[in-house]
Subunit: 204 residues, 2 copies
DNA sequence: ACGCAAAATTGCGCGCACGCAATATTTTGC
DNA sequence: GCAAAATATTGCGTGCGCGCAATTTTGCGT
């Protein structure tokens, strides 16, 4: 059964809201954009905005991190069967942060600047946990569903730590090493300590 | 240097706010308590409330989960040196959820009922991550600080999953096993998959 | 004891999130 | 096609979170 007019229109307005939010935030700065503005730009009532997104920042970051979840899940189930679960997951997640061009880079800079956006952006990794858990369960039919959930939640948490580390504005004083490498490397480093747990669960 | 009058008074009003919030929430139900009420009960301005807590629910849950963080950290560094890091951490965290009496149980029931409180309660485990990371670093001087952070974040995430599982209102339909055991057992089960990662990091 | 600087409290105003009920639009069944 | 059921959009009202500036309280040196 195809989506139907209703669902398609819903997706359309959602996309319009995301696009409008991102555009306005980029050209005015995130602090100078009210929900009213976004709603107007998308041709919809302010109240309707909050039917789609439950915070002002959500639409902006949603415009950046569109379909992370499906990406990771697909990468995990699609990785060669020979590789261990740890490698598969780490590679899949790191793949999300390979630099994809120029427009996104400006967006990331904006995210790094605004604390509210940082927080919201970190929260988006939560959205991958569900699909990732399913992917793990599918790849390793033997594991307890709860274990799969736990592992994916742990992966999410680790990714958040890596993210946080990357967009830390350089604390200055006490920090011994402030040089944060490239994002993918940082995320990989953050995920690595979890590999033993993943492999142990996979190996039963 | 002892706290000084200033800091002590601050702690006093914070405690008063927590107590008032918890009391009012228990006797009226969490939905029927406005910030204004809590502030008034604590003899302070509504604006001041938000100088101490940044959400309406925070004061309530703070009244329940007082000094979790120090507890866990102490338990980790204080556990016998012979036990592996995995066992030490698991035991320490599980120890937080040993049933401590009757008043807390009523409070937990209230938390389980209100979605907003559930979310806020889950967020509180985040507060243990910092101290836990320090404790891990102290116990195993060899490990990378980033690794310590990652592991404690993962532990927090796992604990959240256990919590969520426990206070799930029984989805009914598709759930094969809805019988959730006791909270401590559930949390232990959730933490167990991470033990390999902890031990691996500790053993270098 | 006194006054001054630091810090906490307070009032004010703005925008946001959301429940609720009314309204408009789409889908379904005939 | 068309009425009815299902679902989406909107306006309104309430409470919340917080930046800002004025005011009060606290701590300390002399």
């Amino acid at each position: 059964m195809e989506p139907g007019l209703r669902a398609r229109k819903k997706q359309a307005t959602r996309a319009a809201l995301q696009a409008a939010a991102l555009r306005l935030a980029l050209e005015r700065g995130p602090g100078n954009v009210r929900v009213e503005d976004i709603a107007e730009a998308a041709g919809v009532s302010p109240r309707t905005y909050n039917n789609y997104f439950s915070s002002r920042e959500q639409a902006i970051v949603a415009g950046i991190t569109a379909d992370r979840a499906e990406q990771v899940a697909a990468a995990v189930v699609g990785s060669p069967a020979a590789t261990g679960l740890g490698d598969a997951v780490v590679t899949a997640v790191v793949g999300l942060y390979a630099d994809p061009g120029d427009r996104p880079r400006a967006a990331m800079l904006m995210v790094a600047t605004s604390p509210a956006l940082r927080a919201c952006y970190a929260d988006t990794v939560t959205s991958i946990e569900g699909p990732l858990a399913e992917a793990i369960a599918e790849r390793c039919p033997g594991v307890d569903p709860l274990t799969a959930q736990v592992l994916s939640a742990a992966v999410g948490a680790a990714a958040r730590v890596g993210l946080r580390q990357w967009l830390r504005p350089a604390t200055g004083a006490g920090g011994l090493v402030v040089t944060s490498g490239s994002l993918p490397d940082l995320v990989r480093a953050a995920l690595l300590p979890l590999a033993p747990a993943l492999d142990a669960a996979a190996g039963r």
